[in-house]
Symmetry: C2
């Protein structure tokens, strides 16, 4: 499947293009399950402690929020690109707490495409997740290596 | 549990302190399961396609690698701190592919502690994961909000 030509080589992408990446609903069980495995701090995994704490209830792990963005980005963009690999995330900001029941919607805007002499391109994109009230919960800038046309 | 005093308020942390965070083994099934859910690109989930591709085999999602770091950081440091929440990851670099069977070891060095007028501190730390051959696979700089002594 990796070798099947897809529509988008790096040369086919356009600077300034905005991808609407769809939405993901954050269930309480999913929030707690993710955090138990990867980020077991009380405000992510213990509803009672979280209710008495700073946020007044459970909040999602930032890594979980980032994983939700990645899932939406693969489904809405990368699956149609000739991706080699992700290389870097610049300035991942967890801007607001994400809570059980939140519905997060992703977007991504291509900022730059730089093709190298080895037929690869570094694609830079500004990424964001907003919640159901259009409040930004996550922003980052991603760098992805993408094949250029052979 | 959130309200139980722990040893380390922000004032108790020391700039320059290096945390040895322990190790995590990356199983092939775990690698594929994580990626199927959060980063379903062929080089993360399809062993046959990955073998024929750029890396000659499956590689872990960068988000999975970051989640492994977070788990080690919670177990080896944050669980003993008065953490309010993570705020930012600066410059997350996926420096080398992580493959099934790799054993990753984490470290974290406190770079800065800035207490604000609300009794909170922004703690900045340089973080890294190395593999079993001591090659760096992940680096980032994290910002975490931590309570100062009341």
């Amino acid at each position: 499947m990796n070798e099947t030509p897809r529509p988008a080589y790096a040369d086919d992408l356009r600077i300034g293009h905005v991808y609407r990446l769809g939405s993901h609903s954050v269930g309480e069980d999913d929030l707690v399950d993710f955090a138990r495995q990867w980020d077991p701090q009380s405000f992510h995994v213990d509803a009672e402690a979280a209710a008495a704490g700073t946020f007044g209830g459970l909040i999602a792990s930032g890594i979980h929020t980032l994983a939700i963005f990645q899932r939406l980005a693969v489904q809405g963009a990368f699956a149609d690109w000739q991706v080699i690999a992700g290389r870097r995330l610049l300035d991942v900001e967890f801007r607001r707490p994400v809570r059980p029941g939140d519905v997060l919607t992703g977007s991504m805007t291509i900022d730059d495409i730089v093709v190298d002499e080895r037929g690869r391109a570094l694609v830079t994109a500004a990424a964001a997740l907003v919640d159901q009230d259009d409040r930004t919960v996550l922003t980052t800038v991603i760098e992805v290596l993408v094949r250029a046309h052979p």
